[in-house]
């Protein structure tokens, strides 16, 4: 599998609306408040061993990590338009929007 990032800076993405914590024990680094939300790729940050496997001492394939930017106001239904939150998100949590 190639390490080349699938998403380029500026691409619009959607974070998967997935809740693995409801299916059983897991370790995820995707905060709840961005799941199902649309964001913009700021830049790829490189490849890192998947923490979801590392946490359980499983073989952990490297995954692309991105800085993804979200508008704050749609997430919380409050706040000042134009304010943002930037989050590190692994590629397997992202899909084209």
């Amino acid at each position: 599998m190639s390490d080349a990032p699938r998403f380029a800076p500026g691409a619009t993405v959607r974070v998967k609306d997935d809740w693995p914590e409801r299916r059983g024990p897991c370790h995820i680094r995707t905060p709840h408040y961005i799941r199902g939300r649309r964001g913009t790729i700021v830049r790829p940050l490189g490849v890192f061993a998947n923490p979801e496997d590392l946490a359980f001492a499983r073989p952990a394939p490297k995954r692309n990590l991105y800085h993804v930017l979200f508008e704050q106001e749609p997430i919380w239904d409050e706040g000042k338009p134009g304010d943002t939150v930037m989050v590190e998100v692994f590629e397997h949590w992202l899909e084209e929007a």
């Binding site: 890192f48 990590l65 943002t84 930037m86 590190e88 998100v89």
Partner: protein, 194 residues
């Protein structure tokens, strides 16, 4: 301060270290070096990096493009540390660092996190109502400034490069570093003169 470690925790740590050494994963020398680096790390390191960036355009470019290399250029050992990213505050954008999932913190250049950084109150509020949190810290930002919360969720650690305040023209790096506080390096404050 935290309670002293329990004896059973120390015994477990001893057994873990013996096992790691027996398997050749770490050596006594590596453990000693890491402990020394951890003890040495303090916000003064981050402040020196910022002061140098304010006075040296080439270093500023390095700091913003490769924080890990910029830390190493200041003599900080980044071996085994997560990569460091540095985010630049401007007239139109202010960064605020939080870790909503746990307490990820750029320890290599700031040392141990303060207890408020690890509190549920800061972690839940900074991401949802950053302007209210900043106002409580005494920092009111104009509407023309975008507040960009940086949720440190994964493998990077993030530090803020604050704006150099007016009134510091002609200051040398040592004098500049003295006004760069830990809080300014996280974005809950801005450097002030006098």
């Amino acid at each position: 301060m935290a309670a002293p470690p329990r004896p059973e925790s120390l015994a477990l740590l001893d057994r873990l270290m013996e096992a790691l050494k027996a398997k050749g994963i770490v050596s006594d020398a590596e453990i000693a070096e890491r402990q020394a680096n951890t003890d040495k790390a303090s916000p003064e390191t981050g402040a020196r990096m910022v002061a140098r960036a304010w006075t040296d355009p080439a270093y500023r470019a390095l700091l913003l493009s490769d924080g890990t290399a910029a830390a190493e250029a200041m003599g900080v050992s980044m071996a085994g540390a997560p990569p460091l990213g540095v985010l630049e505050n401007t007239r139109t954008r202010h960064h605020l660092v939080v870790c909503t999932l746990c307490s990820c913190y750029p320890r290599a250049v700031l040392g141990y996190p303060p207890s408020w950084y690890k509190s549920f109150a800061y972690r839940s509020r900074a991401v949802r109502e950053p302007r209210a949190v900043l106002a409580e810290w005494g920092l009111s930002l104009p509407d023309s400034v975008e507040v960009r919360v940086v949720d440190s969720t994964a493998d990077y650690r993030w530090m803020v490069l604050p704006m150099r305040p007016v009134g510091t023209e002609g200051w040398d790096a040592a004098r500049l570093a003295a006004i760069v506080t830990r809080d300014a390096l996280l974005g809950v404050a801005v450097p002030k003169v006098g």
